[in-house]
């Protein structure tokens, strides 16, 4: 088992390599990068991840709390609200999701506020794989992307074959983005190479679709783990790192988002490859969303302040953003009945 893992891992390198999406056989080009040898074995991967600088929890919490005191008013607030709306991955991930529910959400994604057409569309909708086709039809001709969760979301407790098939189906149905979950059990057991190979395989199965790697930080618990999982996901080829499924509490806390932003910043410095960040779960108010933008601005920098590099995984936050936007434009709050519930 260990033998096999080492051999498989040795084929991977990271950086600008391309994965050919041919079933479960992963072909990797031999482009060298500064960290090419990191994933040669579980031992090298472990040595690398545990060699990253530690995170002091008290200090990280304090930094996130301080950034939470930034006061974003007037013109800055107006532009932040529009930016936040354009970054939303409008999400429904319920057992009770139906085609009707998805169609309604897609309509809102394209035109969040029917009474004000200056409101930007959201970045994407996020649904389960079996509803991707429904979303695809509903979003036809719009610039809104379709993200699909995959890989036995939310627990990730299945075989690699099932996860790859899950991903392939979502891509075939038209998903532009795949939100996969990592195997937290393997991560916590120290089997980093397994997590790495799974991400690499899903990346291959995703083909052209962008891969967001959900770390489920609420289950990794320590900030050191969040940093290591972030690097692991980036090394394995993830295009985005995402905090949470939304099914586990705590989800996208400011300090966890801060640590992931530090990771993408440092990864770009180390490898030249830029990776996006998506906090998801627990972002409910405009204040929460703006705090996230402040974290981006003062951590990774304004290079990440675009829907290409930063997303907000949420559903209820959109109406609050719309309400605050209207308050800024008109000076008054309309009641909640003036904003559509989809």
């Amino acid at each position: 088992m260990q033998e096999g893992a080492v051999t498989a891992g040795a084929r991977h390198s990271i950086g600008l390599e391309t994965f050919a999406p041919v079933g479960d056989a992963v072909e990797v080009s031999t482009v060298t990068s500064p960290l090419a040898e990191v994933a040669a074995s579980n031992a090298t991967l472990r040595a690398f991840l545990h060699g990253l600088p530690g995170v002091d929890q008290v200090g990280a919490d304090a930094r996130a709390a301080m950034l939470g005191t930034r006061s974003i008013k007037t013109t800055a607030k107006a532009s932040a609200i529009d930016l936040a709306i354009s970054m939303v991955d409008l999400t429904t991930l319920e057992g009770a999701d139906t085609p009707g529910k998805v169609r309604a959400m897609c309509a809102k994604a394209i035109r969040p506020d029917p009474s004000d057409l200056s409101v930007p569309h959201v970045a994407a909708v996020c649904v389960y794989p079996d509803l991707v086709a429904e979303a695809k039809a509903a979003l036809k001709g719009s610039p809104v992307k379709i993200a699909s969760v995959a890989t036995a979301f939310p627990s990730g407790r299945s075989s690699l074959e099932v996860k790859v098939a899950d991903t392939a189906l979502a891509v075939a149905a038209g998903a532009d983005e795949i939100d996969m979950v990592i195997d937290r059990g393997a991560f916590l057991a120290g089997d980093y190479i397994k997590v790495f190979e799974e991400i690499a395989a899903i990346k291959a199965a995703s083909g052209e679709a962008h891969l967001k790697v959900i770390l489920e930080t609420g289950e990794l618990v320590t900030y050191d783990n969040v940093r290591r999982a972030s690097w692991l996901a980036m090394l394995a080829g993830g295009d985005f790192i995402k905090t949470s499924t939304g099914k586990v509490q705590p989800a996208a806390t400011p300090p966890v988002t801060l640590i992931m932003l530090e990771a993408v910043r440092d990864f770009l410095d180390a490898t030249g490859r830029k990776v996006g960040v998506k906090p998801a779960g627990g972002i409910r108010t405009t204040k929460d969303a703006i705090k996230m933008l402040v974290l981006v601005n003062e951590t990774a920098g304004d290079g990440w302040l675009s829907p290409d590099w930063f997303r907000l995984g949420a559903s209820s936050v959109l109406n609050d953003l719309l309400m605050q936007r209207q308050k800024l434009t008109t000076g008054r709050y309309a009641g909640p009945d003036y904003f559509t519930l989809d």
Partner: protein, 472 residues
């Protein structure tokens, strides 16, 4: 680019009078010296005219304190506690007003006066209110000293007032306090709070003026206890003045603290700690981490991260809620910072500041770091008391200790390592009153604060802080 729009705190919340008298025996009275003006260092506008206490005024204040001492010290501790709790609550209720006034008079960012100074001020009164009826349990007896003469600095005007007044009153002493001449306003508003709390007249007396007034307080024969926070230079003068008298003295003086970063430190948080260590309150902090000692093996990484972080600091209007670095407190201090910085460059250290637009009015100095600093450079020896960091390197823990202790000061130190055994090893060897472990500039009323060597003597805060105000 995400530009934050101006977010100024309203200054209308605080009502500044055109002129202030001295607070003696529960009333505001005119001083007999020539009044002076206190200005807003961010704009150089005059805020108010301040009375100057002559030696005669000081004598009246000490007499009022002496008269009040009899009744105040005879009160049961639980009764004194009630007054202190009441003061603490009023401070909390009026904290926004006090924070704005502090930022106006001192130049510190409103974020700091609001989130650091004011919560700590209230916490100190609450903490020592709790001791007032429990002095017997502290093991130091419960006999107060009498009249305390207290002289405080301009860097944390109201916080230093609370460090002085709260333990003094809790122990049954009465006080004559002189705030710094550039920052008298929050102390004078505190005098109004004493009236509001119906504190018996004479228990707290606030007199204003410059060095001569302070000297008159310290030298007054009927003062039993002298407490001073300020420069080592003035501290030495005070020590000479009180030598041979029965006065009890505590001095909290200058510092040149080492902030020591090991190669296994949590790098991002260490960078935050370095920034907080030296750029908090424009570096006007006696315990500021003004000497950064970096393990040579991580020097490049750490310096790169630190410079990137410094470029994010927001310097400007102290009342803007997003300002990180406010105004230097006075033209005189600004000149001193400039002078020492120029000396640093002349001595061969490399000077660096991030791109930073300084406002065209007021006293401002950009965050500055000096690299290539040697122990022999003046910027590594002398307290600059401004936003200027000297960076040195070390190779081994023993060398870090040696360099950290190689200073006439010994107020504080910081150590950054993820290895607990090394942390304890370092803490046992650093000759500094406070050693911060993976943090810097954290304060708590329960934690004693004070210096080794020329950083002073005596402790303020915590149980140890009671000793300074009891006849032990």
């Amino acid at each position: 680019m995400f530009e934050y729009a101006p977010a100024p705190e309203s200054r209308d919340i605080v009502d500044i009078k055109p002129s202030y008298g001295l607070f003696i025996d529960g009333r505001f009275v005119d001083g007999s010296g020539t009044p002076f003006k206190t200005i807003n260092p961010a704009t150089e506008e005059t805020l108010a005219e301040i009375s100057v206490a002559s030696p005669e005024d000081v004598d009246r204040a000490v007499k009022a304190a002496r008269k009040a001492f009899e009744g105040w010290s005879a009160l049961p501790g639980s009764e004194r506690a009630k007054y202190l709790f009441r003061i603490a609550r009023i401070i909390q209720e009026r904290s926004r007003e006090l924070a704005v006034l502090e930022s106006l008079d001192n130049g510190k960012p409103i974020r700091e006066s609001r989130d650091v100074d004011l919560p700590l001020v209230a916490a100190h009164f609450f903490y020592y209110a709790g001791w007032a009826d429990k002095l017997e349990y502290a093991g130091l007896g419960s006999k107060p000293l009498g009249v305390a003469g207290q002289v405080i600095p301009w860097n944390f005007p109201l916080l230093m007032l609370s460090w002085k007044i709260a333990p003094a009153l809790a122990c049954g002493n009465t006080v004559v306090l002189k705030p710094a001449e550039t920052t008298p306003l929050t102390a004078l508003l505190f005098a109004e709070i004493c009236q509001q709390a119906e504190l018996p007249p004479g228990v707290v007396n606030i007199i204003t003026g410059a060095g001569e007034t302070g000297a008159a307080v310290v030298g007054h024969p009927d003062v039993n206890k002298v407490a001073f926070t300020g420069s080592t230079e003035v501290g030495k003068i005070i020590a000479r003045t009180v030598a041979g008298t029965s006065k009890k003295v505590t001095l909290e003086l200058g510092g040149k603290a080492a902030n020591i970063v090991f190669e296994d430190a949590a790098l991002d948080q260490a960078v935050e700690g370095i920034v907080n260590g030296i750029f908090f309150n424009q570096g006007h902090v006696c315990c500021a981490g003004s000497r950064l000692l970096v393990q040579e093996s991580i020097y490049d990484d750490l310096l790169g991260a630190l410079k990137r972080r410094l470029a994010l600091l927001r310097l400007g209007d102290p009342l803007d809620k997003n300002t990180d670095i406010g105004a230097i407190n006075s033209a005189e201090q600004l000149a001193k910072i400039r002078e020492l910085s120029n000396i640093g460059a002349e001595e061969g250290a490399e000077r660096w500041s991030p791109p930073c637009d300084l406002p065209d009015r007021g006293f401002f100095f950009p965050p500055t770091i000096f690299t290539g600093v040697a122990q022999s450079h003046r910027i590594a020896r002398e307290e600059i008391f401004g936003p200027v960091l000297s960076v040195l390197t070390f190779r081994t823990p023993a060398e870090a200790v040696e360099k950290a202790n190689n200073t006439p000061y010994g107020l504080s130190a910081g150590v950054w390592t993820e290895k607990a055994s090394r942390m304890l090893w370092m803490a046992n060897r650093l000759r500094a009153g406070v050693v911060w472990s993976n943090t810097f500039n954290r304060f708590d009323p329960a934690s004693p604060f004070g210096g080794y060597k020329e950083s002073g003597y005596g402790r303020e805060g915590g149980l140890a802080g009671l000793e300074a105000y009891l006849d032990v």
